[in-house]
Amino acid sequence: MTLSQKQKQYLMEFFRILAVILIALALGFLITLLVSEEPVQAFKELLTGPLPKISWTEAGLKIRGINRFGNWLEDSITLILVGLAVAVVFRAKQFSLGAEGQIYLGALAAGIISLHTSAPAFIHITLALLAAAGAGFVWGLIPGILKAYVNADEIVSTLMLNVIAVQIYRLLLIQWLRNPDYGYIATDFFPETAVLPLVIPGTRVTIALFLTIIAVVATWFLMTRTPLGYEIRVVGDNLKFARYGGINTRRVIALSMAVSGILAGLAGAHLSMGILKQLTLNISFGIGFEGIVVALLARNDPKAVPLAGLFYGYLRTGAQIMERSSDVTREVVLIIQAIIIILITAERVLPLIQQWRMRRKLPQELSADHSEAAHVA
């Protein structure tokens, strides 16, 4: 089998990431050895915890731990959506950190539509999702316009808009949306017509799974098969070149942030309409920032985001399980996560490995490629 240059590069990249993960896990195990009484057991929880345990009994096929498996997928869905959102803005070299706020407003918009309108299921869900996407879009467009037209630094503006978004969310929730009869601050549960239908029984994995797959394909399509995607890439690669080529860079900057907001808004809808089925005081627990990790792992490539999201989700879920069922604390797990991320995002590893490979296969390569180079030892 002969592989094209590009396939070879992908393969290299894949093996590199695999190697890095193994190294990081080995380091993680060393750390576990230091802090745990029963390191093997603890580590096993981290590595296999999120998987369902399938066994044969007299009664037939038996599956245990489906809820853990569900946790993994649920978390991965959020991570993938937010990861896509971050990948889009980062590709345009706009360091927008606004996903967190967009998640909140997406959830809020979805919640308002769910609770205060009624319609048949399909339409109700569609409306709520559109509202979430729209809220995210607007909350991305604002810092986008500020950046594009008055050159307001997007890191600062998005972080501030996050705070505003959370406060708007809480204001509306506490003043207007909450059900005062509950002992905690939360809305009613959403009506059946506005809850995302379940896909895997025994979990909270809903049709958000399919929506996420569509979102991945759509984002990939946007970035590689549409003029806007091309513009986003060129703006990210060299703003001056984009301008010289006639691209309306302001529009592209603003839109890149707004499109990103759509995806984050949908993540908010997944959290409210799929997971919680109501609005509560805290819904995201900072997952908007975890999306940055996913995007980095995926090198801002939408194709790679699902894998990165599933991987990172697995690690997070495994970590929770390990924390719950062994004597290893969450901090240790966070250290392991951090090691993995640092190793994977370190750019210099790949060239070194390639240089080394090159040197090994030097003689054949040269003679095959150029006969006059025979004097090369």
Binding site: R225, T226, P227, Y230, F241, Y244, R359, L362, E365, L366
Partner: protein, 515 residues
């Protein structure tokens, strides 16, 4: 006695599989000026980066005065007395010149950087070697010629005995080149050794003692005495065939005015008037050459006309459509193409693929985009086609532009702008930094456009180039056009020089008649 520097059997294969050096042997004697020449992509820069520790050879050895050395990084190279000035400068724009020169080895007073000492050291150094710089000026506000002197001083400050200059003259005016050569001779007189990469064979004969010629990653002429070889010999070793130095230009078929520029003025953000009431026409089927010492408004003229900068006042029509202040997209749609002078900032996106770079002005049109959907396959095919037509050498059309040699990058720009079928082509320094073969090609293409009845505005610091290509020549001085001439045998370099230096000027009436 062993040579000062010797590189033996150097092989370099880049991670993407490009073999840039195939068993190169290169040696330099102490105290000489050694020219290194070769086509774009021949592997000159790569070889020098290996010597400077920026790239690691896949195989081969380096000897300094007979001792084998391993140079892992530029730090070690500097410790060994090797300094390099890159093809693309690497200064910090917002720092002053003195700060840049001492960067990393700052003189200190207590725990703080001693800026006064830095400035003093800079002045001393600059006087010792006759390289004039203004220590307090910010790099971003200084012309290229000075930036280059800063780069050279920077390496000298670090104690370099061997200086590698990668295409230093590509960005210089003839005057600045003469200054640089004077400084280089002085360096050699002080006991330094200089390796000098260039595409200009005249310079090889002028300044170098010996020359090494490379082609396709191999040495085709090793350390030849420049006294013993002719320019034509070197050219043949470089290209592998005979090179035409003269361009065939059929008699002109001049058509109507394609571009009409009237009273164009431009005042920079800092309030300096850079263009003053510039008026001219460019006619179909002609090349209008703009000559002038660099920094007299030529750059701004190109940037304003192509929509990169808004004009302060004035008008310009292309095919009867007003184009000023419209932004690059509209200007391009009016039929203007632009080869920008500052190619790395404006002309390409280094991290993007060649294919993506070649469609930046047309990606939104069929066949690349239809009903909102873009077709990467067609963009790649388009790239393969242009790479073939313009002889762009790269591993594939998906290679990032940053992996190309300097000349091939320029060809990417040339390919895109020529293939956009413009009515008016603005070419700013189109052959800067490209090898003689490629320069010959670009010049032929410019003439070809003219023969097809297109209008070409050629801005070049290379007076010989302007004189050999242009039908008419306009000279700019301090933002004004001070003379327009019908090109012909009676136009001499000396005469144009007088205008370029502002010593002579035509009357407004004369200029008007020749507009």
């Amino acid at each position: 006695m062993p040579p000062f520097v010797e590189m033996r059997d150097i092989v370099k294969i880049y991670p993407n599989g490009v073999v840039a050096n195939r068993g190169v042997h290169f040696s330099v004697e102490k105290g000489e000026i050694h020219a290194l020449v070769g086509e774009n992509g021949a592997g000159k820069t790569t070889l020098m980066k290996i010597l400077y520790g920026m790239e690691h050879p896949t195989a081969g050895q380096i000897f300094l005065e007979g001792r084998p050395v391993r140079i892992q990084n530029p730090h070690q190279a500097i410790d060994l007395g090797i300094g390099m000035v890159h093809q693309n400068f690497m200064l910090i724009p917002s720092f002053t010149i003195a700060q840049n020169i001492v960067l990393g080895q700052e003189p200190r007073r207590g725990r703080f950087i001693d800026f006064e000492a830095a400035a003093r050291l800079t002045t001393e150094l600059s006087q010792t070697y006759g390289l004039q710089v203004d220590p307090q000026a910010r790099v971003e506000a200084t012309p290229v010629g000075m930036r280059q002197r800063v780069e050279i001083l920077k390496t000298l400050y670090r104690g370099a005995n061997l200086l590698i200059l990668d295409e230093p003259t590509a960005v210089l005016t003839p005057q600045e080149t003469a200054d640089l050569f004077r400084a280089v001779r002085r360096l050699v007189a002080e006991g330094k050794t200089v390796i000098f990469i260039t595409h200009k064979l005249v310079e090889v004969k002028q300044i170098a003692d010996r020359v090494t010629v490379m082609r396709h990653g191999e040495v085709t002429g090793e350390a030849l005495r420049t006294a013993d070889v002719s320019e034509a010999d070197i050219a043949q070793l470089m290209v592998g065939r005979k090179v035409l130095f003269r361009i065939e230009k059929p008699p002109q078929q001049r058509g109507p005015a394609v571009a009409q520029v009237r009273d164009l003025s431009y005042i920079s953000e800092t309030g300096r008037p850079l263009l003053r009431e510039v008026s001219f026409n460019v006619y179909a089927g002609e090349i209008l050459g703009i000559a002038g010492v660099e920094g007299n408004g030529q750059t701004e003229l190109a940037e304003v006309l192509s929509g990169l900068k808004p004009p302060t006042t004035g008008q310009a029509l292309v095919n009867g459509r007003p184009v000023l202040g419209k932004g690059p997209r509209q200007v391009r749609q009016a039929g203007v193409a632009h080869i920008p002078e500052d190619r790395l900032t404006n002309g390409v996106a280094l991290d993007a693929s060649i294919a993506d770079n070649l469609v930046v002005d047309r990606y939104f049109r069929p066949p690349f985009t239809r009903r909102g959907v873009m077709y990467p396959r067609l963009i790649r095919r388009h790239a393969r086609d242009l790479m073939h037509r313009f002889d762009i050498r790269a591993a594939s059309e998906e290679s990032p532009v940053k992996s190309l040699s300097g000349g091939n990058m320029q060809k990417v720009i040339v390919a895109r702008e020529f293939s956009s079928e413009p009515a008016l082509l603005i070419a700013a320094q189109p052959t800067r930094g490209i090898d003689i073969g490629a320069a010959e090609f670009v010049r032929q293409q410019l003439v070809q456009k003219r023969n097809e009845g297109k209008a070409v505005l050629l801005i070049s610091a290379d007076l010989a180039e302007v004189m050999s290509l242009a039908d008419r020549i306009a000279v700019m001085f301090k933002g004004r056009i001070v003379g327009i001439f019908q090109n012909g045998p009676d136009i001499t370099e000396e005469e144009l020089g007088l205008y370029m230096l502002g010593l002579k000027q035509q009357s407004p009436d004369e200029i008007e008649t020749l507009q």
